[in-house]
Amino acid sequence: MPTTKTSGLNRYTTFHGYDEMYTQQGNLKPYWQKLLDSFDRLGVDGLIGRQKDIDWLLSENGVTYNVYNDPKGMNRPWNLNIVPFLLHKDEWETVEKGLKQRAELLDLILKDIYGDRMLIKNGIVPPEIIYGHRGFLRQCSGIEYTMEKYLSVYAADLARGTDGRLWVVNDRTEAPSGMGYTLENRSTTSRILPEMYAKMNVTRLSGFFQDLNRMLVEASPIKKENPHIVILTPGSHNETYFEHAYLSSFLGYPLVQGNDLVVRDGFLWMKSLNGLKQIDVVLRRVDDAFSDPLELREDSHLGVAGLLDVVRRKNVSVINPVGSGVMENPGLLPFMPSIAQYFLGQDLILPQIASWWCGQEKEKKYVLENLSRLVIKRIDRTNRESIHFGEFLDSGELDNLKQKIIQRPYRFVAQERISFSTAPNLVKDALEPRNLVTRAFCIASGSDYQVMPGGLVRVAPDRKTIRVSNHRGGTSKDFWILEDGPVNEDKVRSWQKRSTNAVSGLDDLPSLTAENLYWAGRYVGRTLINARFIRMVMRQLSMVQNRNETPDSEKLRTLLRAVTHLTGTYPGFAKKAKKGPQAMENPYQEMLSVIKDPKKVGSLAHTIGMFSNSYYSIRNLWSADMWRVFEDIQQLWKSFQEEEQPSMTRILRVLNKLITRLIAFMGLIEESIMIQQGLLLYFIGLQLEQSMLTITKCRSLLTIKYDAHTEYDLLEYLLISHESLNIYRYSYRSYIQLENVLNLVVLDLEYPRSLAYMLNRLQKDIARLPQSKHDNHLNSYQKFVFEAFSKLRLAEATSLAKTGTEEDFTREALETLLGQLSELLYQTSQSITSSYFNHTDRQNQLFTQFFPI
């Protein structure tokens, strides 16, 4: 049990047989020594401080991953341990050769099993291993690609065995994840440990991402200088969505969902704001079976109907090919040596775990006899849940498993249980050994493969855990390949040539992104206006009202009804509830639910939820500051939601904070996203929402005439909730009068919060949309806004303020105008939606014919 001598930081003892820091003779490797020496110079506190910096930086950059089926699992912070994993270049060169060989082999296997299937015909691979694997998609048989290598991206999980060599533990071929996290880990550690990063001659990653980009460009079936490339994501709930968004903005290719794409005339198209745009290459993160609901899983809404046929006709390249999931197949392991001989006449360079495929009699017998010492996997399910560790099973479970193996032996593979090496991890204030697994990446490059000099290292959460996975709350590490001399510095990132590859303006904006931005604008506007109005109402309630009584004054009742109209939480205060207590009899409870109940459609909590969803799905557009403020809002709201009966002061304080943060957030949006990136859509949504709610507010508070006193108070409330009381006093220096209020809030062309100003701006903004016309004829949404604006311009405050006769209570002219405006804006929204966000057509499977006889 070796212990390091260096300092008090290192009471480091290794429990498992093998630790990365030591040679097999038990000596500390010189490069680890160098790292530990630098850690010593930092001291314990220094090191802990740096770890905190890492945590802070990652949360600043919003680096997260999601865990499925876990309500608390969304957007978990990504963990990166400060201690990198080190490997000397000499050792890595062998591994690199082995990885290239394996990538090459898997590529040949992939071509063969979807081609002539000579491996099966020649008896090299038993048919069950392919035909019995659910990832073998018969629909893909015979598909050919124009690229030299079909397997464009390959990832291997590596771990060091007791023989001191790095072993292949898993092959990842379907849609390997981790490259983005690797890049993020590197950019974080290189910033937090600059002195060590510089001194230790760490090989740079940038060349590899250059290769990735080149591979994507060259994958285009028709050679073009600037092929259209998209990254297809299952959406913001996917576990590695952060990475999809990250790669999208790093590589400069649009991030799309299945819904953004459509198949027509034998080609694949992206629905952009300005119509359809042909796509040449898809880097896909949607699983094989989900990528085409026409030919593959019918229930998938993540893919594109007809995609496979476009691929078949060589009109688009999908990377990796649909169907490559069949290679994530431990059943192949025992046959890999013969496959290597068959294709290359070579031995495998990288060792693999000893594996027994139960489809063979002798092997099955061995497995059944030694079950409790083995690890059992299904050939086509490599997720945690389907892996059985014989040693942890009781006799009943073992029998159960035996039965399963006997029933369908071809489906199971048993592997030797081996212990892998450990490496130091900073845990609280000490270095502790942890098991680790490294994911290495290969990219096709012409007739060869390029290997990333580094990778994603995942670390077990505690000393006992052998299985390593992000799901289980483990952490990650940066992976440094060390050279003896100084390394080539990162070249300037100019290779990205953003000018040519980047999304070239609004026309190319995927319509789903556009829609999300539009709704982001609408929800942020709705949250802000409603929060302000509710804050004002709560203040009034707190001043005059015992919590649970029907308000005695008309003005309060009017305010409460306005809350219901504004939020749309009917029946609320506005209508009689069909059953149960009336809201008006217990206004505090109703207000509380309008604020806090996330299930109540229209409530503040609900609106914030919608706002968050729309922001998550466009997070590739965010800046770091936006992320931080957004997190602040989430935190604030989350802790508030947990409170049972918050006091009035507490509610007001939360609303104040919410409003301030929203305003900060809105300011950041405007300066972080460019109009061409879609900010225009955000503005359109925001202006439209604010206009609509201003109309609703005025309709609820101003169209009925009350006694002078009530009327005065209502006008004042309106101005307060509109944040316009000071402006009013400044502009009119007078007693609050309806005419003046109408002039300021509704008709003023110069005042940014007035309806006329907002509609004027809306008119200008929508004119910039790709389908807007600039000749003599206006587009339909342009007509609606033009009509609304004209009506406002033709109106006059004095006539709007009048009732029909002195005895009438309704201000007919005002009510009519506001009613018409409301309808026109609703139509505007409908028209914009149908012109640009055509996702309304639901994807349906045709009824399948069932034979009558």
Binding site: G266, L846, F851, I853
Partner: protein, 296 residues
Amino acid sequence: MHFNVTHTTEYTYDAPVSYGHNIATLRPRKAMGQELLDYHIIISPEPSEITERIDFFGNFITRFSLQTEHKSLKVTTKSHIKRDYAQFQDSFFSGACKSITMNEALIALQSMELEILEAKQYILESIFVKKMDAGISEYAQKSFQGNRSVFDAAFELMQRIYTDFDFVPGFTSISTPIHEVMEQKKGVCQDFAQIAIACIRSVGLPAKYISGYIETLPPPGEEKLVGADASHAWFSIFIPGFGWVDFDPTNNQIPKDQHIVVGWGRDYYDVPPLKGVVYGSGQSKLKVAVDIVRIA
């Protein structure tokens, strides 16, 4: 024997469909004792593009897209088929076929011959024939025994399904799992074919699903009604050393010339006559008619 087969599938939608992609397995394939002499497909509205390919199993797959708004889709195929399968009937009852026992068959399946390797994939579970429970294998083992002839066992299995199961249209749907059909002992031709397939696979032998048509003959003295014929399904078992033999458990017979093969696969999933993804908001209604006319 020559037949003209007209197969019409019509979908009507209650709301317009803006576009759709479809896949049809309707062109009859070449099969033992069967030849396709002429074939057309007529699609209305006119598809904006249409392609044909041969799939993994050797079936013809037609793919077409409709890109103009439409409220109904009608696909009609007309096939002229020459059927000469009855001539093989005697060979099934010959010693070459009948003498092979299950034990011999299971040993033969270990061989590395190409035909065997190809056939072995039909032992594995498939999309609709999986999660076989004890009920299935118990039912199978009553007929399939080690030193019994595979052909005799399959013949008996067909007879037993015909006797034990009630033909009840509408009782099952394509998503009804086979163990439920097994429990209820009710269903239609697809169910019976898939039950048989499940049974055969449960004893370790290859079986496949055949999709096609059957000519129905009117009761003596009556005229045949147009559209009275139908799509049909049956199964085929692989007897190593002999080959594939078809059985129709719905009609308790070994197909002769009135059975017309369209395609085959592991189960219904591999050969649905028509499927598709449409974009629209409404519901669809389906009407199918098959008409088989003998030509002298």
